[in-house]
Symmetry: C2
Subunit: 272 residues, 2 copies
């Protein structure tokens, strides 16, 4: 039975490079209800936190009311297809615009971001391991790679949405970071419908056996999707944390390995 007390520590499972992989949810860095509206207050808070961290970091961010908004309007999905090229241009440009706002905020706070569109390390939907390892080299060298969900060219006239959450799984599996943290706009995973308590800790078995309240699924986001990507990452032997990105102190605690409020997806021991 999953416990419901409100805080805990993350086990430190891997110290390969002390790399921390962070997802800034679209619902955290934008106002999802208002098209093309960044949450600059939140971006600035998170930027100050990032600037204070002295460990190798990689940030992935979502689309929120930028890319996600447009991808819905143009009916684009996480499968390669011959989408309307105007939509391709618009979605891609909106993600670059959001990325640029985040990166500017990071620079202003004293961080050293280095923006990397996903096509740098992905060939269509296929990871390029050597380029992913280069992201770690950039991070270890002191800059912070910042990548994002995007619309990527696959082949000929086919493009596909590639979600930020899927990128998290791809990067985690390739790099085996010491921590994987998803910033979301709620306190964590809520228990049964109607409860105000967040679930302190889950794993594959407890998740599949229980009934959890589900937020509305959107194209690429949604709590369900994050938990599923989190479970995949946990299956690689890494603890995954969901924490409220609108509460910066909790984010700092999670990054620093202190007690924090949120949901831990406990890793599985890696097999052979």
């Amino acid at each position: 039975m999953p416990s419901t007390s409100s805080s805990h520590k993350i086990d430190v499972r891997k110290e390969r490079s002390g790399l921390i992989l962070l997802k800034f949810g679209g619902s955290v860095i934008t106002f999802k209800e208002k098209p093309l509206s960044p949450n600059m207050e939140c971006i600035n808070h998170l930027s100050r936190i990032i600037a204070s961290i002295d460990k190798p970091l990689i940030i992935v961010h979502g689309g929120g009311s930028f890319g996600h908004y447009w991808s819905v309007k143009y009916e684009m999905h996480t499968k390669p297809a011959r989408y309307d090229l105007k939509g391709v241009s618009v979605v891609h440009e909106s993600m670059i615009a959001l990325n640029e706002l985040l990166v500017k905020g990071l620079i202003e706070s004293g961080a050293k971001p280095y923006s990397v569109m996903p096509s740098v390390f992905m060939h269509g939907l296929e990871p390029i391991v050597k380029r992913i390892e280069e992201l770690e080299a950039i991070a270890v060298g002191g800059a912070v790679p910042v990548t994002f969900g995007d619309i990527v060219h696959v082949a000929e006239q086919n493009y596909s949405i590639l979600s930020g959450d899927a990128l998290m799984t791809i990067l985690a599996e390739a790099l085996l970071p010491s921590k994987v943290i998803f910033l979301v706009n709620v306190d964590g995973l809520y228990g049964d419908v109607g409860t105000q308590n967040i679930i302190r800790e889950i794993n594959y078995e407890t998740y599949k056996s229980a009934t959890f309240s589900k937020t509305t699924l959107d194209v690429t986001g949604g709590m369900n999707r994050k938990i599923e990507e989190g479970l995949k990452i946990a299956a690689s032997g890494i603890d995954v944390v969901l924490v409220n990105g609108l509460k910066p102190q909790r984010v700092l605690n999670a990054i620093n390995g202190c007690d924090f409020e949120g949901t831990l997806i406990r890793h599985e021991e890696r097999r052979g």
Copy 2:
């Protein structure tokens, strides 16, 4: 003796895909004397021209008063070195900001731009031929790849400026486009110091033997550099054109193969 009449046609040497490779000079899309100031009027004019072209196009742009301005301030060069990471962040972000302004202008004019940071098809300073060929596939499919001079990660803590002009040579040599056009902020290559006439046509021999007025060399741009990259490209068997990007009709004429005013760098027959 180079002729000096004012207009001519480009020989159509290669119709491999009808691909046109265009450089938007930083001096054309920004006001170079004023830091971080885009020339939106020019961007909008050029965008309307691009939207009217029904051939495969790839655009490369320079940094002007965005990236170039910052790269000078942070003393960065086209050689890998352990540059100040703040400078790396700032230069990279400024190029993305300029790119985003251009891409937005292109979208508003009805073009279908697809922004591609150079690290997508370059591994440090080394071209990735398969990814460069993918740019052509994107262009043939109806979108317009837009890439740019940038600061790229090379290895560990080393980064390097990679100029838009160098990218033009790399892309031209890999893709053998039918036309290569550099948009600059003057009418073409001027003859001897003091002359008002542009040189109609040059090639390797005539360039090396003559005295031409030279504009002040900056880190990556300058007429001298463009002529040198143009000569390298011409050595691959492709005609190269320099035309004034602030005179949009000339740009359209050059793209469409009509008589235009500017300087032609005549290709050399390719050996073996």
